[in-house]
């Protein structure tokens, strides 16, 4: 039986690797936390994995702008092979594999030019910068999924409550053409929304003043997903700030909605993987019963 192998990058200020790894494991995948130093010493190759994850954190302390210094390292520093990490990522994507970035990981993806990458040149087309409040904020937000998104990661989810924890999460789009492209191609896969599920610019429902009220972006292929909110911080129902009332009103299992996202994601990856590698296109989804965190 095939298994989804998730690479969770760590080090240099990344700090959400443990919960990201737990998310994949509880979601039914195998997860390995590997230090970026291992990548740059050539002792770990991302090609052994099905999905590469950039967890949240404060890479390089957010110096030079959140995610910027790590993006620079991944774009410019040479691996022992003489190639650069970003070239390896291109090859990885060429094989139909997936990349996921959360918070600081999303900021890194944006600053490397991997999302939205409308023009396909891996140049930075948008940025994530200081919240309109000028502050780092930790608060829970409700997010709506764009029904037309191509990412398999959000399949089956319309709405999800998640925590945001960032000081630089405001999406700014370089120009009008890119803005139109993002909308036309439905790359803005996740939006901050109000109680009715409608995208909103109202603070603090929209915590940062993002363009398009955008909380997450994909590339055109849907293979890359970046988002500011933290699904890996909602693996258990008991993470939700209103769990005490929710649990008493709707008893259920202990899964948080964030874990639901990872389970769906692992399911999609597994289906895809079995389709590609075992040449069984359209085969039914054989989801192992993933270990529940109860």
């Amino acid at each position: 039986m095939s298994q989804v192998h998730a690479l969770i990058l760590s080090g240099l200020g990344i700090n959400c690797e443990e919960e990201m790894a737990a998310a994949y494991r509880l979601g039914g995948a195998e997860a390995e936390i590997r230090h970026l130093g291992e990548i740059f010493r050539g002792t770990c190759s991302l090609h052994e994995f099905d999905v590469v994850n950039f967890p949240g954190g404060f890479s390089f302390g957010d110096d030079l702008g959140a995610g910027k210094a790590l993006a620079n390292r991944l774009k410019y520093k040479k691996l022992p092979s003489g190639k650069r990490f970003i070239n390896e990522l291109e090859r990885f994507l060429g094989e139909g594999k997936f990349i996921f970035g959360v918070c600081n990981g999303f900021q890194v993806l944006v600053k490397m030019g991997l999302v939205p990458n409308l023009r396909g040149a891996m140049e930075q087309e948008v940025t994530l910068t200081h919240n309109d409040s000028g502050r780092f904020e930790d608060r829970w937000c409700s997010c709506a999924v764009n029904a037309a998104t191509r990412t398999p990661f959000l399949r089956g989810i319309d709405r999800i409550d998640l925590p945001v924890r960032h000081g630089e999460g405001k999406l700014v789009i370089r120009d009008e053409e890119i803005r139109r492209g993002i909308i036309e191609e439905s790359l803005n896969c996740l939006s901050y929304c109000d109680a009715q599920g409608a995208p909103t610019a109202e603070y603090p429902l929209n915590p940062n003043g993002s363009a398009l009220n955008c909380a997450g972006l994909t590339d055109r292929s849907g293979q890359i997903l970046g988002m500011m909110p933290h699904p890996e911080a909602f693996l258990s129902r008991y993470n939700h700030p209103n769990w005490a009332r929710l649990v008493s009103e709707h008893p259920g299992n202990g899964d948080g909605d964030g874990l639901g996202l990872f389970k769906a994601m692992v399911g999609s990856l597994l289906a895809k993987k079995e389709g590609i590698f075992q040449d069984r296109p359209g085969s039914a989804l054989h989801l192992r019963n993933p270990p529940c965190n109860d």
Binding site: S10, G11, L12, G13, N15, C16, E18, E19, A22, R25, H35, G37, E38, G56, F58, F60, G61, D62, D63, L64, G65, K68, A69, N72, R73, Y76, K77, K78, K111, E123, Q124, V126, T127, T129, H130, N131, G134, R135, F136, E137, D138, R139, P163, R165, V172, H230, E232, A233, F234, L235, S236, Y238, N239, P241, N242, W243, A244, R245, S248, G254
Partner: protein, 1000 residues
């Protein structure tokens, strides 16, 4: 200026909202009354390195610039007729500049070059463009009061046409000289010597040192080692650090003669620490061990106490203060406080604990203070803003959730704020089959320094914190931590310890290497250190400066020689610098060398045990206080909103939101919860792993204002406050022998004013010391009664400020920080009301105890009836409540503290977005006492109607039904057939939410 310096300026493009510039303009107007006009903030990088023009261009455009945000200017300034003046904020030479260092790393990545310069060559600055041509004095004020701090920043300001570049350059008189110090001096000159060298040692201590050097055996040993019979400067510095109040707790170990002037009773206390703190824990340990409970593993003897979670893991935690540095540079002080205390659990036993959470308690003066400040005193608002920013960066950037905290305001914290920082961690119970919490060191083991390089940072930090602050306080005592450096260090430590490459470790805090190596050397019985092997930030440090420097983000590791290779290899991967600086011996001597010459050679026995015991005098007299006669109150709605909006009660949301309280994904009870995420909670609760629902609860208890009436009641009350917050969420008290294997672990932190009697300078010293004794007595009584042990703690003894002849002393304060294991986090109770129709109960008994209350404070009264802890009642109530919680009968539970029932009920209602209608009993207590008394060991509890009978059956007389939860969003309080309070929740919420008025 250096000829090879290049300057790259990044400015936001037009159309991008300049958040920081905008805020600078707004705050300049609000706080300083300065009208800057528009402000534009730029980031400037100066590169002092041989580098080609083309490379500078590439660096600016491909690495520094954000193509969406920035315009770039290289070696030229942005000029625009809109802006007339500027302020350039740089770091002073040698001050931590993480952004410069990160830029340097990025340059190396871009050019694919190795950074072998061994020094910082890129420096970052903030450049502010101001629309108005402000006079120099205004610009200086803006720079020093708002944009930076003269203790850490260099400023240039003026009209734009006068702009010039600046690069911080460290230049020290490069003299690695070790001096010999004459110590064969008469007494008064000994004291002067201590003062001159900033040793902070008193006459008795200086005499003990003099006697040591006169000892013929010592002389012979020194002669053999090739040293002069007189001390070196390095030796005196080491003694000054090791014997400092900060490191040796001399007052807590002093012999105290205590007289109760009311009763005439006199007693002698031989060490407060041994008698009360270690004494209490010792008794609890005995009881636990007698009952076969073995969770209390290590107390007081390491950087942090250790308790057992289960067979596989142990819990470590430490809380300490960083008051003096925070008074001088609030941001750097608090940041260093957080990252500093992180290293305590990281360096306990073998080391490498995984840091699980931070907590903090902050005490400030009134942020709205509008009087005149004396020289050297920072405005409380500024201290508050800086400290909060420091705690934010210290926790968030390290990926450690700040799970809860507390803020206390009192005008006596105007001189020195109190900044308590705590960190908890989980460590495997064993590494390679050996107990992880034990420190093992054998002769021949190597001494390896890990982490940041050494500069002149924080020299005399340990002795400085043992002094009162005045306007001449040394600037080298101030430093700024580097969370990213420490994050790499902490990641490395965890891996190195799991791989068995580290045998023991400790952190480098106060006293730097001299303390860390000196303490570790006590285990095998000696050490040899080569200071020339210590990597420096810049040349020119004297050997003693290298040894006592408190440069941050450093650990000292004990490494077996054969592990050196793999350890250095691993460190390279984590980008952590290691240096092998010596080895341990069993020769009984701390042997410190520099370039082949001995600079210190001190007997370990003398170093650790040679400090003479202090003798102090305490005299207690109960203050003559009375209950006040208050004016008639005819509008309790108004009293309630005033109380909710008051500084010590109002919502901390503006602060809480700035701390990441849920990184690591384990938070269960967060500081704010409920349907709108606004409801304040009691203890924080978090899971220990993703594989089980076992967790811990974390709380803090602090009540400085009660000490104005009775320090004993204050200390006991603070203990109860911390304990009942854990009870509120569902914690279970230890009960040796009765099957309650869940650990409790307490850090006690004393912060008191100078309590040593001096006729002229400290005439009420005896009373202050008596208060300290009473605080300790209460600690002992509470700890032994409830079987809750102290596992670690700290005392900060000189929390006084002097300036322009004004002395401001903090009120004697004790903080109890508690952690208890929670067997199943799914069963915990949160504070907010849950459902309309639920029944509201008061659990516990209200007494006429308004003394020291927040209610009295509205009337500027203290009163006399301070709340006292009735231990037997408390125990009974806590056990019953726990039984009800375990039976699933408690829908919500909130502990009552500041503001009493009125505030507790309002908070539970606001948190749940539900109303309440309650009737207070007509039981002889006045309405004010019923509603506002802060009697201990009480909770406001809501219960589903279906559970009512079962709940009452358990609680019996310890609960009283007050009323119901209602869907009408109002709070109604009735008494003797009258409606006393009837107010909309939104009105309460508005008052409660706006108390901090935008100061953070």
């Amino acid at each position: 200026m250096n000829e090879t310096a290049h300057h790259i300026l990044l400015l936001l493009k037009d159309g991008i909202f300049d958040v920081e510039g905008h805020r600078a303009a707004e705050e300049a107007g609000r706080y300083l009354g300065l009208h800057t006009g528009k402000v534009k903030k730029g980031k400037l990088f100066s590169i002092v390195h041989e580098i080609k023009e083309r490379e500078i261009h590439e660096f600016a455009h491909f690495a520094l610039k954000d193509v969406v945000l920035h315009d770039v200017y290289i070696n030229t300034l942005y000029q625009n007729s809109t802006f007339q003046s500027f302020i350039l904020v740089s770091k002073l030479p040698g001050v931590t500049d993480d952004e410069g260092v990160s830029a340097q790393k990025t340059l190396c990545d871009l050019l694919d070059m190795r950074d072998d310069a061994g020094r910082q060559f890129i420096f970052s600055h903030d450049l502010y463009y101001l629309e108005h041509a402000l006079p120099e004095e205004s610009l200086r004020l803006l720079a020093e009061e708002l944009l930076g701090n003269p203790l850490v920043n260099h400023f240039q300001f003026g009209l734009l046409e006068d702009f010039s570049w600046y690069v911080p350059t460290v230049s020290l008189a490069s003299e690695a000289h070790t001096a010999i110090v004459e110590i064969d001096l008469p007494d008064e000159e000994l004291v002067a010597l201590s003062k001159r060298m900033l040793l902070s040692l008193n006459l008795a201590e200086m005499k003990a040192i003099r006697a040591y050097y006169e000892n013929p055996a010592v002389r012979a040993q020194r002669a053999q080692a090739g040293l002069s019979p007189l001390p070196t400067d390095c030796e005196l510095e080491v003694l000054g650090q090791t014997w400092s109040e900060h490191c040796k707790h001399k007052e807590f170990n002093a012999t105290i003669t205590y007289t109760d002037l009311d009763t005439g009773e006199v007693k002698t206390i031989d060490s407060l620490f041994n008698t009360f703190i270690a004494g209490a824990t010792g008794r609890v340990k005995q009881k636990l061990e007698a009952a076969g409970e073995d969770w209390l593993l290590k107390v007081f003897s390491d950087n942090a106490g250790v308790v057992r979670i289960d067979e596989k893991s142990v819990f470590i935690w430490k809380v300490e203060t960083h008051n003096s540095p925070s008074a001088l540079d609030p941001y750097g002080g608090a940041l260093t406080g957080i990252v500093g205390v992180n290293r305590d659990p990281l360096g306990t036993g073998v080391g490498g604990g995984r840091l699980l959470f931070n907590t903090n308690v902050l005490c400030f003066g009134d942020p709205f203070f509008s009087g005149r400040l004396v020289k050297g005193q920072l405005h409380p608002r500024r201290i508050l803003a800086g400290v909060v920013q420091g705690i934010q960066d210290g926790g968030n950037k390290s990926g450690i959730p700040t799970v809860n905290g507390s803020v206390v305001f009192d005008h006596r914290f105007m001189g020195k704020p109190l900044v308590f920082c705590g960190t908890g961690a989980v460590m495997p119970a064993s590494y390679q089959g050996r107990n992880s919490w034990e420190k093992r060191i054998d002769p021949g083991d190597r001494i390896v320094m890990a982490g940041g390089r050494v500069g002149r940072d924080g020299i005399h930090g340990a002795t400085f914190s043992s002094l009162e602050i005045d306007e001449h306080s040394p600037r080298s005592a101030v430093q700024i931590g580097s969370p990213i450096t420490q994050k790499n260090l902490s990641d490395f430590m965890q891996h190195a310890c799991v791989q068995g490459l580290v045998k023991s470790s400790t952190d480098n805090g106060a006293g730097g290497l001299s303390s860390s190596v000196g303490e570790l050397a006590g285990i095998p019985g000696g050490a040899v250190v080569h200071l020339d092997k210590v990597p420096l930030k810049y040349p020119g440090l004297k050997p003693w400066e290298i040894f006592v420097s408190e440069s941050q983000e450093r650990m000292t590791l004990v490494v077996e020689p054969m592990a050196l290779g793999p350890l250095f290899e691993l460190a390279a991967q984590f980008e952590v610098e290691l240096s092998d600086i010596g080895w341990f011996t069993s020769l009984g001597v701390l042997d410190v060398q520099y370039e082949g010459a001995r600079v210190a050679y001190l007997g370990l026995d003398f170093l650790h045990d040679g400090v003479p015991k202090k003798e102090l005098v305490a005299e207690w007299k109960r203050p003559s206080l009375a209950e006040p006669v208050l004016p008639h109150i005819d509008n309790y709605n108004q009293i309630l909103t005033r109380l909710l909006g008051s500084l010590n009660i109002c919502s901390r949301e503006p602060i809480i939101r700035r701390y990441d309280h849920e990184v690591k994904g384990r938070s269960v009870v967060k500081p704010l919860m409920g349907p709108s995420g606004k409801g304040p909670q009691d203890a924080a609760v978090l899971r220990l792993s993703f594989d089980s629902y076992e967790g811990i609860a974390v709380s803090n208890g602090i009540l400085p204002r009660y000490g104005d009436i009775d320090a004993y009641a204050m200390s006991a009350g603070a203990f109860d406050e911390a304990m009942r917050q854990i009870i509120a969420v569902g914690g279970r008290l230890p009960d040796p022998g009765k099957g309650s294997p869940d650990f409790w672990s307490v850090n006690d932190n004393f912060c008191v004013p100078d309590s040593v009697y001096e006729k002229k300078t400290n005439p009420d010293g005896k009373l202050k010391l008596a208060k300290l004794v009473r605080m300790c007595q209460a600690l002992y009584d509470m700890s032994t009664f409830f079987n809750i042990p102290m596992t670690s703690g700290k005392d900060s003894m000189k929390n006084d400020f002097q300036g322009e002849g004004v002395k401001i002393s903090v009120p004697p304060t004790i903080l109890y920080s508690m952690v208890a294991k929670i067997p199943d986090v799914r069963r915990v109770t949160t504070a907010e009301l849950k459902h309309a129709g639920d029944l509201i109960y008061l659990v516990g008994t209200t007494y006429d105890e308004l003394g020291g209350s927040e209610f009295y404070r509205l009337f500027e009264e203290t009163g006399a009836n301070v709340p006292v802890v009735r231990k037997e009642n408390a125990r009974r109530i806590y056990d019953k409540l726990n039984e009800a919680q375990n039976a699933g009968l408690v829908a919500s539970c909130h502990d009552l503290s500041d503001g009493g029932l009125a505030v507790g009920l309002a908070e539970a209602a606001m948190g749940g977005d539900l109303g309440c209608d309650v009737t207070l009993p007509d039981n002889g207590l006045g309405f004010n006492a019923l509603l506002f008394s802060e009697s201990h060991s009480r909770f406001i509890v809501s219960v589903r109607a279906a559970d009512d009978a079962a709940f009452q059956a358990i609680l019996g007389e310890d609960c009283s039904r007050l009323g119901d939860v209602s869907s009408a969003r109002r709070m109604v309080v009735r008494h003797t057939d009258q409606v006393m309070v009837d107010i909309e929740l939104t009105e309460l919420m508005d008052a409660w939410s706006s108390g901090l008025g935008g100061v953070v």
